[in-house]
Amino acid sequence: MAKVFIDDIEYEVPDGKNMLEVCLSLGFDLTYFCWHPALHSIGACRQCGVINYKDENDKRGRITMACMLPASNGTRISIEAKAAHDFRAGNIESLMLNHPHDCPVCDEGGECHLQDMTLMSGHNYRRYRFKKRTHTNQYLGPFLNHEMNRCIQCYRCVRFYKDYAGGKDLDVFAAHDDIYFGRSEDGVLENEFSGNLVEVCPTGVFTDKTLKQHYTRKWDLTSAPSVCHGCSLGCNILASQRYGTIRRILTRYNGDVNGYFLCDRGRFGYEYTNSKKRIIKALKRVSGTYQPIENGNVFEEVKALMGEGKKVIGIGSPRASLESNFLLKELVGENNFYGGISNTEGNLIKQVINILKKGKVKTPSLAEAKGYDAVFIVGEDVTNTAPMLALSLRQAAKNKPNEEAFAIRIPLWNDAAIREIVQERTGPFFIATVHHTKLDEISSGSFYGHPDNIARLGHAVAQKINNNLPSVPDTDRESASLSSSIAEALLAAKKPLIVSGTSLFSKNVIEAAANVAYALKEQGKDVGLIYTVPEANSVGMTLLSENFIDDAIARVEKERADVLLILENDLYQRIGKKDSEAILKRCNQVVAFENLENETTNSCDYVFPAGTFAESTGTIVNNEGRAQRFYQVHIPRNEVRSSWKWLDILRQDLQTAEAKDFDVIVDEMIQKNPELQKIKETAPTADFRIGTQKIPRSPHRFSGRTSMIANINVSEPKPPDDNDSPMSFTMEGYHGIQPSPDTAFYWSPAWNSVQAINKYQIEVGGPLHDGNPGKRLFEPDENRQAKYFNDIPSSFHPSNDELLVLPLYHIYGSEELTALSPAVKERIPQAYIALNENEARRKGLNAEGGKVEFYYQDKKWELSLKIDNSLPDGIAGLPKGLNETSGIGYPFRTKINS
Amino acid sequence: MSETWIHILIIVCVLLGMVTIAAGLIYVERRMLAVWQERYGPNRVGPFGIFQVMADMVKIFFKEDWIPGFVDRKVFIVAPTIIMITTLLSFAIVPFAPGIVVANLNVGILFFLAMSSLGAYTIVLAGWASNNKYSLIGGLRGAAQMISYEVFMGLSLMGVVILAGSFNMTDIVMEQKGMWNVVPQFIGFVIFFIAGLAETHRLPFDIPEAESELIAGFHSEYSGMKFGMFFVGEYLGITLVSAMTTVLFFGGWLGPSFLPPIVWFLIKMFAFILVFVLLRASLPRPRYDQLMSWGWKILLPLALLNLLVTGAIVLYNQ
């Protein structure tokens, strides 16, 4: 602890901070631009000027930038002194010389850090009478809008984009006051985290282009704390709506998970919720067409189908909440419930859960992953399957070189100095994947091979760490030396991190990664082991499932089922046309609960309109076993509601057409699944109040209440109640610091921008006031004796006539729902089949782009060829989940013709 | 025509006449307030707006007569009737002209005082039965105000009684043939008139209602014809006090003979009614404590002094 003096008052502050952090943590309103809690200080904007005094006798002091001043014992500053105040106001005045008169048409207006800081500094009148500098703008792709005139040259964008996220195509150009932040030429910003520029930029240079399509000011948005459904990491988001459509997604700060950032799939992939293809009414198939049916009748009819003695089976979904899956299981009975994934995937996830639960190695959270100093990725294209993990790993790669700076007593926050020492160097970072991945650019050694060969590399590394393990037979020299250097680097590190996942559908890969981690653990290393899984609630659903879709197919083959209930699952997309038809034909009646119209809903007898994350409340479990609550953003003016509500009504007597409250369902689920006990603690129950007040979903400045639906009826209806959460759907409620899982927006007096988050944290950049939301369901037991996996696969030998086809992942396109969002759609690549040059030549294929034919499930597929020389011989890669490649089960073998 | 029939006719005439005058006052008051405030007042319904009264009556009869669920039902219903009954009964002793009096009681003044005391119940019961804090406060204020001013209202009249040597109203009028009582009993007149304002809780003494602080006080919860009874009761009260002032201090029906006595009476009475309205147009409401201290610390000693001096002079003259 250090004692510092701010305006002659003494404060105890933690060591190793700078004075800006200290002032903000203590609640002072000090202006700043270039500093960011995750990007640290460079002292570029000169906005946090304070007066620094030598000692108590020093009456004059000197102006210093608080962000560059260490908070050491005896530091004495003044924020309020007139000179400091005038300095900051003058500085803003200079920055504003060229700032355009744009606020009314600027998307940042109302949540602009520059607006806040200007007011805070006291500057209010532009005295400069000469001309304003202008810039031309660039086209930056479907996600971001560029308005360079508004720039105040704080450098935050390039510091985030280049230094933090590893982007290559945004930079700073020109000199002196012509400085320009942009690309060398117009074009799409390629980095997967470009959307964060919206929040990082203190003013409106980079704004959300999807929001622009249906622009709404921050104060008019009704938001709910939610969890991203885009991948398995469970990043926290704030989803906001106005007039019944989702308008944008912002990062919800969770110090344990995603921190300040979010990937572009999560941020811009929300638009499918507003799609015209949404199912908004309960539908029934009448002679080939779907017709809406009366709410009351639908229950009676479906109930009748499922009456006494009827054979009913249900297929769950890894993108539906725990509650929905649980109620489906309750409705159809334990033995008739099938997890909505293939058996291959199901068993892989079971294995992952098994390692999480029964292993002895900690699975770090996304935020903790940043703290490891050596990384070994085993068979996972992290950038595309779990993008935010890639961002964390990029930070982890900086830890080792940073130590050099720490050694000469440069604190972590002094970013410019650290960068000067570190330059482009990165720490030990090894990747073993099927083909070249984006993280290769920071890797110290990459290996491309068949999943079995990746697993063999893993086993070899484990064996090098623990000599008692059986050695890997028939190792070639190259991988032997690679495995030695990986083992050496991991052993040299303080905190090695092993990353793996299910994306290659290989049990061997998963087991090899666990072996490496176990071996390191035995060497006393503080090792972390992260697995990624395919979908938002893959872990949660698998916890509730014993059997999976292939079991369901086998069962209906044996005996026809009367009713099949499909929960938020497009079978055609997941298991392909052949299997889907096989199962649908053997069931007399098919009932689907679905968000959007798809091939499955087009083959059903009844379709219930199920809510997406925007219209439902629920709990999902991420890849590390963290259960997190997401809340519905609004009650839509149609029949859409959470799947669990439909299921609960179907379960009850017909007299009640109301579902039970969320907390009742949760209690029932916990009672039947004691291992889910902790999900009760993920968020307050619906009867939680602060004083007598609920927690509002809208800010107190929310406008248009007496007018927004006045065209329909001039008498305003009563605002809807939310029985499932302690939150109100309006601005009414407690407007202070709310419980962290229930905070719907960040606002504090004088802090209208996203930076208001400072006020919600115990100290800036630290945990939220009552802890970060989410509860981990399983923790490792370090003393446990975990068994090694001894099943070492044999090396892969390419066959001459057949190719093994493996999935290649794309951040845009490989996830089913986000791929339907217009902005994301623009970024989805053309479908292709990837081969290395060697293999292509051998098959007689010509240049890139040529047509390639292959067969899968007796159907002919035709795609264009893409040459990817990093792919090993005998392996072809197909982009997973694109429209053209949906329904394919990986891996499979096929012959290829040109 | 037998005496009984004449009597009944007088009763009916007085009853209808007074109620009609009270109702008409609704229009008169609004028009006169407007005159003193440089406005026109109601001038749209009928010639000069005189059918405004009809419109108001129709409106008040057709308004929903709502009894809130939380009130003391019986008392709530009875309360507004009391003021009507007591005030109308008081008119029984008013001699409008020679022979035109319902009951020529020899304790006329005492009957009047008794009736006006009973009138206090209407406010207390209404305020209590409404089960509403504003009404209750209004009721409490009303009770205190009316009981206090009752005291020196009575005392202020004693001078007149001493001069006339009788409680009989007709006797008091006849006694003023030489000189109206207002001259020897000027202080008595002033005190009586002030007390009369307070008794009828008219502006500026409308403290039990005080809409700006008590949102209509004791009759907050009343609507429809029950409210109407309070409303008409108040105008009856004005008429009564004006009539009493006329009788007691301004020679009742006495006047030059070119006009019939009843006309003189009505002229005088209406003059006082207009004074009531003028006061409403001009004076602000005092605070409750000001009202009480004014009554007990100034008016009561003054009334006693007036009584003492009158009594002494009368005794001395004998």
Binding site: H101, T136, W219, D220 | S282
Partner: protein
């Protein structure tokens, strides 16, 4: 006491003064040009909608009776997709006019907008938009703003210099 009597006397004298009431339907009152009555949306000198859908009027409205949705034309010029004022809630306080950065929303001297049905008091953009500039002439927000949305090119606005060449490194 005496002052009270004087008050009564003075009030009494008002009887003989001229009435201030204007007998409305027959005689019309004078409304000052800045009288706060019916709300209109005006157009700029180039005859385009002035409203840029910034939502400030809606935010400042004490009765929350203004709602709108922003949209953009092909040039990126922002305008309201719909603009609705619920006059049955409006209190004609004029804060929306104060808040408007483009002189678009203006209160005009007209109050004769009574309706028998409350629903008829809900005005849409078509009902609000007038053909002229209202009280404030000659102002076009997009000439002074930095954005280029078809009104002027980058650097062509009032008080703007030409766009900088970002490939230039000369000081």
């Amino acid at each position: 006491m005496l002052s009270s009597i004087r008050t009564v006397w003075l009030v009494f004298l008002h009887m003989f003064k001229k009435r201030v009431t204007i007998e409305y339907p027959e005689k019309k009152a004078f409304l000052a040009p800045r009288w706060r009555g019916r709300i209109v949306l005006t157009r700029d000198p180039d005859h385009n909608e002035r409203c840029v859908a910034c939502y400030l009027c809606a935010a400042v409205c004490p009765t929350d009776c203004i709602s709108l949705q922003a949209t953009e034309d092909e040039n990126g010029r922002r305008k309201p997709e719909y603009f609705r004022i619920n006059f049955s809630r409006c209190i004609f306080c004029g804060l929306c006019e104060d808040a408007c950065p483009t002189y678009s929303i203006q209160l005009v001297p007209d109050f004769e907008m009574g309706e028998y049905k409350r629903q008829d008091l809900v005005y849409e953009k078509e009902d609000l938009l007038i053909d002229g500039q209202g009280k404030y002439h000659g102002y076009n927000f997009y000439r002074v703003a930095g954005v280029a949305v078809g009104v002027k090119g980058k650097g062509e606005g009032e008080n703007e210099s030409a766009p900088v060449d970002r490939k230039k490194l000369v000081p």
